[in-house]
């Protein structure tokens, strides 16, 4: 994984594999600290054993590297990664923090494109993205309404793709993630 965008995409797939159909991502970036939480309504985990690289629910291989790699990337910068079962949605909640001013911090990568990729890669998942700035929370993306719009013929995949990238580009600029 070269950047945080790759990591995000990768751990998003965990939610997909856990049969989630709704995922809520919240991100914030202030004083060079990138904070992100991901909550899904999938089958959930039993404990923190998923952070062990030699534990996986998949049957093709005996190792699972997605989460341990992200944990390492976060901890290398003095940040952290926490994962737990949620009570409200019955799924998993994950939270990580990366200090972007640290010399070992990976670059952000193309975050706007990543969200467009998620939209197309998993057409059955509703993602809601919130950005937290100055302790105010704002909903930026809602895949459910976008899909509905496409479904009614009011939009198509080309338009939706451009829209996600342009919305995200603007938001990332506001957060100073993109210059």
């Amino acid at each position: 994984m070269k950047n945080i965008a790759d990591h995000l995409f990768d751990i998003f797939e965990n939610s997909v594999n856990a049969n989630a159909d709704m995922v809520i991502i919240k991100i914030s970036f202030s004083e060079r600290i990138f904070h992100c939480s991901i909550t899904d309504n999938g089958i959930g985990i039993t404990g923190e054993e998923v952070l062990d690289p030699f534990v996986t629910s998949r049957k093709t291989r005996k190792v699972g590297l997605g989460l341990p790699l992200l944990k390492k990337a976060a901890e290398d910068t003095g940040g952290y990664l926490k994962i737990k079962k949620t009570n409200q949605m019955g799924g998993t909640s994950l939270e990580f923090e990366i200090d972007m001013s640290h010399i070992d911090a990976k670059p952000f990568g193309d975050l706007p494109q990543t969200f467009a990729d998620i939209y197309f890669a998993w057409p059955n998942i509703d993602l809601k993205l919130y950005i937290i700035k100055n302790s105010k929370q704002e909903k930026v993306l809602d895949f459910y309404t976008m899909r509905e719009k496409e479904n009614r013929g009011l939009s198509n995949f080309i338009k939706t793709r451009r829209k996600i990238v342009s919305i995200m580009h603007e938001e990332m600029k506001n957060l100073n993630i993109i210059e």
Binding site: M1, A5, D6, E13, N17, A121, R147
Partner: protein, 122 residues
């Protein structure tokens, strides 16, 4: 919209419609997006396909993702499902390979041997 039940019903309906729409395609490209695929650049591959579809103005081709195919060393890998034909799997599909596969296999039905992994198996 009045209550949660109604909302749930609406959701189910839209989901069904979406599946119907997703079912009306001639070609389906599935990109392996496990940790291994992503690390090998599968997102670039997927984006290249989306770009190519956009450029070709075809509406009967869709791109989706799946998990790890189980051959991590040969990622990025893709399955190509053409209607009424057996699925074809390609390996090491970078941007260049994606262009070749798109122009040759997806538009003209000619399999690209150079990147071929297997034929007819899922």
């Amino acid at each position: 919209m009045k209550n949660l039940e109604e909302l749930k019903m609406m959701r189910e309906k839209v989901k069904k419609d979406l599946q119907l729409r997703a079912g009306g395609h001639r070609v389906k490209i599935v990109v392996g997006m496990g940790s291994c695929g992503i690390a090998a650049g599968a997102r670039e591959t997927m984006n290249e396909f989306l770009d190519l579809i956009e450029k070709s103005k075809k509406t009967d081709i869709i791109v989706t993702a799946s998990g790890c195919f189980g051959f991590c060393a040969q990622e990025p890998m893709i399955h190509v499902y053409v209607e009424d034909k057996k699925p074809v799997t390609y390996r090491n599909v970078d941007k260049e390979a994606a262009q070749e596969i798109f122009n040759s296999h997806i538009l003209n039905g000619k399999i690209v041997e150079k990147y071929l992994f297997s034929k007819g198996k899922k």
